[in-house]
Symmetry: C2
Subunit: 382 residues, 2 copies
DNA sequence: TTGTAAGCGTTATCAC
DNA sequence: GTGATAACGCTTACAA
């Protein structure tokens, strides 16, 4: 560098200097007018005119360097193709956009190393804050979050003493809702298709399943449990394996992708759903409504969690010294055709076109009067 | 400001100054070492040591201000929940990440005004470039793109003389592939479920459908055409309307979401797919494989288009003075159970867990020998 | 190789 | 109200 050129930028675009010169005022005055603070009517006019003439647009980077904020917020999820994250993303986007910021989406692929390096990169301060929903969580994650100069909010389970903002749901209880429902419907041999046990969701669901059966005095039959991945193909394969060695009358799936996979495994073996095998998914994504028959699913309030996470993040950005907070979203069960006794019902009426909110079926809330609509799951902050 | 404080940053984080002071060298030397250019072995050691001790991380914003690049690339799509965009997003992400950049995803909701303001905001230079896939395209779009100081690549149809990098597919021909296939299978009353005609994809598909029928000497029966939205619920509703007034033996749908909606409309009226009504979708998304029976679908190479768009963008970022380029991705038809004569076949074997690439069925390429795998659709740049 | 200093484009301070 | 100028944190020409 070292060349003197204070007028337009290198590529010829106007800067405050350009505008100021053209308006015949100092850059300070120009800047003030451009930001709507101060300036005599005459100055305002001249600057506005000059700016319009040259097509001035402020450089967001220079502004960020000065203001120490970028107006960007990041969301890191494992699988951008999983509808549960799409729902979360939409909710986050809405809150973030409403605050005038923009959302940066990272797809981590569930890769631990990648996630950690992402967290560490926060130190570069390219975003004002980050929401992360890790499916595995290590000490490195925690350390990177604590050390990070920009606020982080975690969606998902976290050690109780972790000094990080956190919004969670009780997926363990969610599994319990599904088990209760299936048992109440008279099912006795409930199969369980889970994701990897070394992930947080996988481990919690496994514990929840065993606890739920135990609470009903039922011994766990390991033959009825299959572990695969949180994906359609893996779910289908897992269901096929399970069906080859056991005779379940119900299948509980750790998410909706697995459930749709299981549905197709069942259909391709000519098992009727729900007559022969009842099916319940988790996450209550759009997929659950787009399956045929429509899937009962445990709602973990992903949109709500996203919304709360975004709110917590924005609050912390505004007030960095807040103590760590924790928000809860209660799970609920949305019952649809796939687990409704009495034949294959017709699919429910289509919801509003473009409506991102699941059309509710019957709902069995956790701490909620039966029949209450799961419009907005209650959230509370401890 | 105006306060002299050249050591750490306002919130106490180390800067080059901190490192330089600690290492006992000038900030220039510190910067050089940190960037791996120059420096005597002794200096390098001292600076590295100092940087590690204070936990120095460069400020990306300051760096951007200097380098005039942010390392961010944006992708703007209408509906982040539509699997076709998910596929595109993944492909873009891969290319972008490989270049060491990060991807910023905007969900425009198909809102024209929002899209244009997004394009205009590019002038703020917060990203190094943008890929946009508008479903409606106006003169304002074009003007904003031409005026934009940062490169824009459009995925989708564009006026031929628009001086903008562009990757497109021939969805008109794609519709033709589907019509040919259905006619060859002996279907004669082909219904068509389209999206809005005032969108580019909707208009092109409509033209394609009519042209394809005409080329076979078939007169269009307007009763067999329904227009809704590019969504599941709308597709289902449209199919229901169409079935109420006509008796199609095949249904061609403008995308896979509509097709899944139509599938459920058919199933809920006890029509067998494909025996009574053959079904073909478009976009060949994951949804097509996740439906039961699996959906035949016209692949428009969304992943490929995303990849090409990202490549074009990166090339232009590197070389801004390139003439406008245009890349093509050929459509192909992936035939699956939903349009295969001879009963409801079992769904195909599950693809690799986590495999983002659709498991190919039989393929009828456009300019390709029959039976060739649609591994990577051929792309050519004019 | 090293240090000095200019400059990226903006906002904020402080005298006038 | 206005203008000169420092500062945000970094890179880099240029001279030593």
């Amino acid at each position: 560098m070292g060349r003197k050129r204070l007028q337009p930028t290198a590529d010829g675009r106007p800067t405050v200097h350009t505008v100021a010169a053209r308006a015949g005022v100092s850059i300070a005055s120009a800047s003030r007018v451009l930001n709507g603070v101060g300036g005599s009517p005459e100055t305002v006019r001249k600057v506005r005119e000059a700016a319009a003439e040259v097509g001035y647009v402020p450089n967001a980077i220079a502004r960020s360097l000065q203001s120490q904020r970028t107006g960007l917020v990041a969301l890191a999820v494992a699988d951008i193709g999983n509808p549960v994250y799409v729902a979360m993303m939409r909710a986050v986007e809405a809150v973030v956009a409403a605050s005038g910021r923009q959302l940066l989406v990272h797809a981590t692929g569930g890769d631990v190393a990648g996630e950690i390096s992402l967290l560490r990169r926060l130190a570069h301060r390219y975003v004002d804050g980050m929401i992360v929903s890790p499916i595995r969580i290590t000490d490195h994650h925690l350390e990177a979050m604590v050390v990070s100069p920009v606020p982080v909010v975690v969606v998902g389970q976290l050690p109780d003493d972790a000094p990080v903002d956190n919004v969670r749901t009780d997926s363990r209880a969610g599994v319990g809702l599904a088990v209760d429902h299936l048992l109440a419907a008279g099912r006795r041999r409930i199969g369980f298709l889970n994701g990897p046990l070394d992930t947080v969701p996988g481990a919690v669901r496994d514990a929840g399943f065993r606890a739920a059966l135990a609470s009903h005095g039922i011994t766990v039959d390991e033959n009825l449990i299959e572990v695969g991945d949180f994906q359609y193909a893996a779910g289908r394969a897992a269901a096929t394996r399970l069906l080859a060695r056991a005779e379940p009358d119900a299948l509980l799936c750790a998410n909706d992708l697995i459930a749709v996979g299981a549905l197709h495994a069942l259909l391709s073996e000519d098992r009727r759903v729900p007559q022969d095998v009842a099916l319940v998914g988790m996450d209550d994504t759009e997929l659950a409504q787009m399956a045929f028959p429509q899937l009962s699913s445990v709602s973990l309030g992903s949109a709500d969690r996203g919304r709360r996470a975004a709110e917590l993040l924005l609050e912390r950005i505004a007030e960095p010294d807040l103590p760590p907070r924790r928000a809860h979203v209660a799970p609920s069960l949305v019952v649809r055709a796939s687990s409704t006794p009495g034949g294959t019902p017709r699919p429910a009426a289509p919801s509003q076109p473009g409506d991102p909110v699941p059309a509710p079926g019957r709902t069995a809330g956790l701490a909620r009067a039966a029949g209450t609509e799961p419009v907005t799951a209650p959230t509370e902050v401890i």
